[in-house]
């Protein structure tokens, strides 16, 4: 399911519960979990916090989020070899990433971008979209 089909209304509908869940995982106030804050740079999230958030979102929304799902969603139909080479996101890959993470301001995409640095871009909105696509997949499978 392409992300550009996710509307702002859908995002705002899940956002309050996503924010509350993420605040629990990060041990911060829910007000700090703004839709566009960088989780790593703005809220000091570490890798275990991302796991914690995913586990909590799975429970809160009764969905399954396979590990590595955000990057997989971002990559879309692009074969892995065209998305990244030796850990660096290709030009084509970067265009795809920018389109998937359309909520993130262009200046935050650095080049060259390492695949390992992609999570630095993630915001609560990224996770809202993750939840919505997981809900859609669950619905489609039902």
């Amino acid at each position: 399911m392409a992300q550009n089909e996710i509307s702002k209304e859908e995002i705002l509908a899940v956002y309050p519960k996503v924010a509350e869940t993420m605040a629990d995982a990060l041990g911060c106030d829910v007000e700090e979990v703004k839709l566009d804050v960088s989780l790593i740079e703005g809220l000091d999230a570490e890798s275990i916090d991302f796991l914690d958030m995913v586990f909590r979102l799975e429970r809160a929304f009764k969905i399954k989020i396979p590990r590595g799902k955000i990057v997989e969603n971002a990559r879309g139909d692009l074969p892995e070899a065209e998305f990244e080479q030796k850990g660096i996101v290709t030009e084509k890959g970067l265009a795809q990433l920018k389109s998937y993470l359309s909520e993130i301001p262009a200046e935050r995409f650095k080049t060259p971008m390492k695949v390992a640095d992609i999570p630095r871009l993630f915001t609560p909105e990224t996770f809202c979209k993750l939840v919505i696509s997981a809900q859609r997949e669950a619905k489609a499978a039902a």
Partner: protein, 251 residues
């Protein structure tokens, strides 16, 4: 003496129908923990443990799970979690032995030992940690062996699997420390169980001469160390391998 904190805790113990595993199940349940143990194929022994628990008024449940099967582990852990809403303690005890000199080891002897002894630890731990991470607490205790550190003839497969457990324990302790989850191992020496019967029969006196205390250990003596690591007394202990081996000599 303050309370061990085990009362009301939810514990999963693999390989719990016999030997050291059974002693661990009974000790933790005796302290008031709600224990579910997994067993692979000895349903009769498993039923005996559950029945003995019920007689003593202790909460012991059993599930038939092969720890080599990642999906079976994940499903069984979710069944326990659905019942109890949390998982506080995981004891990775299930293990097999297929001793032989390397040149004579069949593929299956290598695979079965590695898949069960270390593969099972991966399968179970990966299934349990989401619950512990969300809880921000948990105690994981892996059963290693003296053979992880001391060479023994015919034990390349077993020793490799137990050495892997020690390395796994230290790495995972680093990973999970931010969530206050402790990860430790207990490394028994020669313990009087069915599993060590062949070793004791074949090389009894020679083995005993290497043990400072000149006797084999009892399953409950290993269980006490697991009990300690699972209790609140060990809240400040992580990434450790505790030897319970009667002082097995360096060679």
């Amino acid at each position: 003496m303050m309370d061990s904190g085990l009362s009301g805790k939810v514990a999963i113990v693999t390989g719990g129908s016999r030997g050291i595993g059974r002693a661990i199940v009974e000790l933790l349940a005796g302290e008031g923990a709600a224990v579910t143990f997994f067993y692979r194929d000895n349903a009769q022994a498993a039923a005996g443990v559950v029945a003995a628990g019920a007689e003593g008024g202790r909460a012991i449940g059993a599930e038939q799970v092969d720890v080599c099967d990642a999906k079976a582990c994940a499903d069984a852990v979710e069944r326990v979690a659905a019942r109890t809403d949390r998982i506080d303690i995981l004891v990775n005890n299930a293990g097999v032995i297929r001793d032989n000199q390397l040149a004579a080891l069949a593929d299956d002897d290598i695979r079965a030992v590695l898949d069960t002894n270390i593969g099972g630890v991966f399968n179970m731990t990966r299934a349990v940690i989401p619950h512990m991470i969300v809880q921000r607490s948990g105690k994981i205790i892996n059963l290693s062996s003296v053979s992880a550190d001391k060479g023994g003839r015919g034990q390349t497969n077993y020793a490799a699997s137990k050495g892997a457990i020690n390395a796994f324990t230290r790495s995972l302790a680093v990973e999970l420390a931010p969530r206050k989850i402790t990860v430790n191992a207990v490394a028994p020496g020669v313990i009087e169980t069915e599993m060590s019967q062949d070793v004791r029969d074949l090389a009894g006196e020679q083995v005993k001469s290497r043990i400072l205390l000149r006797r084999y250990g009892k399953p409950e003596e290993v269980a006490y160390a697991v009990w300690f690591l699972a209790s609140r007394y060990a809240d400040y202990v992580t990434g450790q391998v505790v030897a319970v081996d009667g002082g097995f000599k360096m060679e």
